[in-house]
């Protein structure tokens, strides 16, 4: 469900599902948690392939941020359409900085 790579010390997690809803949120959360437990504190979540996120998916992203802790950060790249709208509607764009793409997010985080 999630592919990952490390760029300039930043963990980039690319979600390969079109939908992150209540059916997939538990596995999504488990996979993300496993990735950050390797000790990464700077994480970019690439949602460019995702077309739909519901409150369960959003809750899993929030849970991941809590797991990373206050000294780390989690940014979102490539959110468009309904996904971007959900972040803004719930004010979660104040928590997760939204970047146009992974390059911009990594640049910002690594810089």
């Amino acid at each position: 469900m999630i592919n990952h790579e490390v760029r300039e010390g930043v963990l980039v997690a690319r979600v390969e599902e079109k939908r992150v809803d209540a059916a997939r949120a538990p596995d999504f959360k488990t996979e993300l948690t496993r990735l950050i437990e390797d000790g990464h504190q700077q994480v970019v979540l690439d949602l460019s392939k995702v077309e739909f996120v519901d409150s369960s998916g959003l809750g899993a992203i929030v849970a991941t941020l809590k797991r990373i802790g206050p000294r780390g950060s989690l940014a979102v790249a490539g959110a468009t359409g309904a996904v971007e709208r959900l972040f803004k509607l719930t004010r979660m764009d104040k928590v997760f900085p939204l970047h146009e793409d992974v390059d911009a997010a990594v640049r910002r985080m690594a810089g």
Partner: protein, 148 residues
Amino acid sequence: MAGAVQLLVDSDLDTVALVARAVRAICSDRLSEEDLDAIELSLVEATTNVIKHGYNGRSGETLKIGVALHSDRVVIEVVDTAPPMDAAQLEQAGEERFDFDETNIESLPEGGMGLALIRMNMDEVEYVAQKRQNRLRMTKMFAKPSTS
């Protein structure tokens, strides 16, 4: 095109995406992408709530989804036979749910957002718990055509 459609849906979270796709297609002639997104999210949240909380995640139950297209609005109903939810939960749900302190990550919500999202995305939301069935009725008005 006016008309009404009813869908019978298994109480299985994997079917929610199928229902969302079907309802989105039914409404697609009359609504903007943004309004379709709002309807899809509301329907998904409502259906998921019934399956997870009403039926406690139990499969083998049935939900009825109604979609009625009128000249000025679309009305979506989610009907179930689970124990009803407390109607006050819906009345109290709103954008205050997201009035968190963004600098305090422990205060951020991880759940309990569904009803608030429904209220924020639809124009009217009404819940009626009857003897044998519950009905959540969600209405979205069509955007008025520009007069300029």
